[in-house]
Symmetry: C2
Subunit: 525 residues, 2 copies
Amino acid sequence: MARISEIEDALSSGGGRRGRRAGGGAEARRAKRGGGTTPKNRYIQRQIPPYEILSEENLTLIEENAETVLQEIGIEFRDDPEALAMWREAGADVDGERVRFPRGLCRKLCETIPSSFTQHARNPERSVEIGGNNTVFAPVYGPPFVRDIEGGRRYATIEDFRNFVKLAYMAPALHHSGGTVCEPVDIPVNKRHFDMVYAHLRYSDLPFMGSVTAPERAEDSVAMAKLVFGEDFVESNTVMINLINANSPMTFDATMLGALKVYARHNQACIVTPFILSGAMAPVTPVGVMTQTLAEALAGLAFSQLVRPGAPMVLGSFASSISMQSGAPTFGTPEPALVLYGMAALARRLGVPFRSGGSLCGSKLPDAQAAHESTQTLIPTLLGGVNFVLHAAGWLEGGLVSSYEKFVIDADQLGMMQTFAGGYDLSENGQAMDALREVGPGSHFLGCAHTQANFETAFYRSSIADNNSFEQWEAEGARDAFTRANALYKKTLADYQAPALDPAIDEALRAFIKERKDSMPDAFA
Amino acid sequence: MARISEIEDALSSGGGRRGRRAGGGAEARRAKRGGGTTPKNRYIQRQIPPYEILSEENLTLIEENAETVLQEIGIEFRDDPEALAMWREAGADVDGERVRFPRGLCRKLCETIPSSFTQHARNPERSVEIGGNNTVFAPVYGPPFVRDIEGGRRYATIEDFRNFVKLAYMAPALHHSGGTVCEPVDIPVNKRHFDMVYAHLRYSDLPFMGSVTAPERAEDSVAMAKLVFGEDFVESNTVMINLINANSPMTFDATMLGALKVYARHNQACIVTPFILSGAMAPVTPVGVMTQTLAEALAGLAFSQLVRPGAPMVLGSFASSISMQSGAPTFGTPEPALVLYGMAALARRLGVPFRSGGSLCGSKLPDAQAAHESTQTLIPTLLGGVNFVLHAAGWLEGGLVSSYEKFVIDADQLGMMQTFAGGYDLSENGQAMDALREVGPGSHFLGCAHTQANFETAFYRSSIADNNSFEQWEAEGARDAFTRANALYKKTLADYQAPALDPAIDEALRAFIKERKDSMPDAFA
């Protein structure tokens, strides 16, 4: 442990701009140690304040309404007698599967949740801090389809899965390998979690997410992590973060509760997320969505602390609006952004890390619609102060598709967010008074000493944008961003080199997977 | 006057969400009076606070640095002996054309600038309030080229100019007709201002901008405005806003000073904008850009108050970064956003209205690059609290091109900003506790009374986004946003109906133009 935290302190690169500039030192150290990893932003330490829209009075009103929901309406904990017994023991009113909570009980129980925690990566230089002023970007989670220009839209395979793990590993602005970067439907449903967790461990050295689709798959994820990190380390540290969705409205089911219990007991982190399409699983108004989200999250988070006080948890919020024409979820519209800003403030008041946002869109292609919607989600994500950002890259078509091209386009935008979060350089050099004095009226700054000294790192350098002249752009084929991204993702995969993994650990992982897979027949539903 | 302000008070629709919902009443009134105008958001009255990043201490530091620039380095006022004499009279140190200012002089002179003013439109329902919590969106300004899918990139004509005036008139979220929506290069350079101002007056009833390319063209613009609004009205009210760029660094030229003097003397508004490509016309650091922008703007704004104390003025900031590869300006990157937020705060402290931002991009096509860059500019524009937003729709390729398709795509995004700026509905209905009580755990909200009552206006409805199923989208031709926007702009132009204009006024305008055009030979440079 001492070794890991020493390295982490030494490398704590942090805040975008400064981090990016100071990157040479960290990179140099990595290269010296022969780590073989790519230059990487560790995570974002925001140097900018969160954007607060709601007054304290209004936030209190929403909190009181959420307590009323918990007290009067309650939350159902389905098919889990153990959970009901725990709630009865904790002082809640249990009526069948409906649990009603004395005002303030859930909030009180949440006090043992750490306000910030470290998720360790197998490469300690890649560990992330979740909470506080930090923002961690993770890839898209869950799509059954993938898309790229040549292949079009098709079912995802484990090969695609590995490719997205590699793309996240290669992207400087992605800090996390994520979980189900796409659903590998070519592998039996009861066995694919082995291949997914293995891919994160083998093809990346970033922190990752475990399986939540059944309690025993959560146990398998923990067992595999122990083969890599060591049994003692896993039990006393957090090496996985896991996505637990509420069955909104106001319901948790046995599958999610089961996975939550497994992870909490092993001290692994969970994100408790009410998943809401506004108007379907919650009221149509942003304040109504926030009230219900807070109530559901409070109940789930409080339950985790009954399982293991102090277990690291994240308050999640996923809220989309829906199309009045088609009923489909819509993204990048004003209403979800309002929900995000409000929920971020409520999570800060509760003192727990917050997950929301990403690069969400409803578009079928990485076109202007996708870009608008993604940015209209991503900027609130950063300015709201989200701590853990799932779906930060690759999400297309309302989460049905993992897009290769959009992945690299989004990753470029994440880099910009990292720089923006670095805020202003107010040093003497940043103030640039020498430059102003040197140049004076009517001249230009291109050649002055200050420009020469700062030019190389002065501006974020996009990997996607074409800023050449019109004539040059035309001569190069008049390609749009989508087409350029196709070339970039292929080049990135071609350049990929796997991080080192101890062969003994690799062998142990493979042996474990073979044994477990052989122990059960294939299942496809 | 009484009539105009009464109507304005009665119609003061304001704040996005509430304004949008209350729109029926205003529309009904318009229809009753037979105004023949399209449903329109008047302007945005922001219900959300500005996003403040810099501390008071840091803002003061930048203000002090700007005073140092004004005092030590000074600003050149070129080829305008009258301006130099006015500065000498005001107590500045004039050395050749270099003017140095005692600390605090410019800021003191700016005290007579109104913190907010009304720009009257010929249709009083379309007048806008510039300053305070208000945001006014105006189209792209200045491109010599236009582009659409069929025609590609080509030089703009007066026909294109009229089309963009019509598109702005038809777009609910554009509040202003703008100025040089494209440069009609088919008309002699010394005569095109007549056709441009006429197009704004004839094909729209929105507020508009006058010519600034020569003092006599500014006088022509004022004369034409007087034919429409009446001589007395123009001299005592503001009916035009005009774009005065500084020749950064630290220089004003005679052309711009001449136009500024004309407009200020007639009580017409000017936007004094240092136009900065960071690293070329200013230092490479955001704080350096802000320091210089503030110094230049202070000098220009203060000068306007020497011409006519109380003349309405706007502090402008246009700052892009540049590409290290090509030297071209780049947009939507983090550094210009930082400059925008900072300049907005500095303008608020000075107490003058602020212009910046828009839907800027460097992309050659309305693709993902254009959309990312535009949104990365537009969101800071709204959250920063910009009062007057030039280039809010149609800007492409670094301002070289007015794009038909991007115009309607941007206009859709502007509508989203209007809704977002409405903030949260915290009424009983907004809190939706009845809905939560009615539905309860495990059910859905689609059919509940609250959803039924609110569904129609609950979510912003995009005119561009496709939210249909994948199958339906494919059956309809798998069109991207660019292609859909092509159809939308054509439909909009086909649906266009001109607002009424008194035939006697129209005749007077035409006669004036003919007389003035006949009085001079064509010039082409």
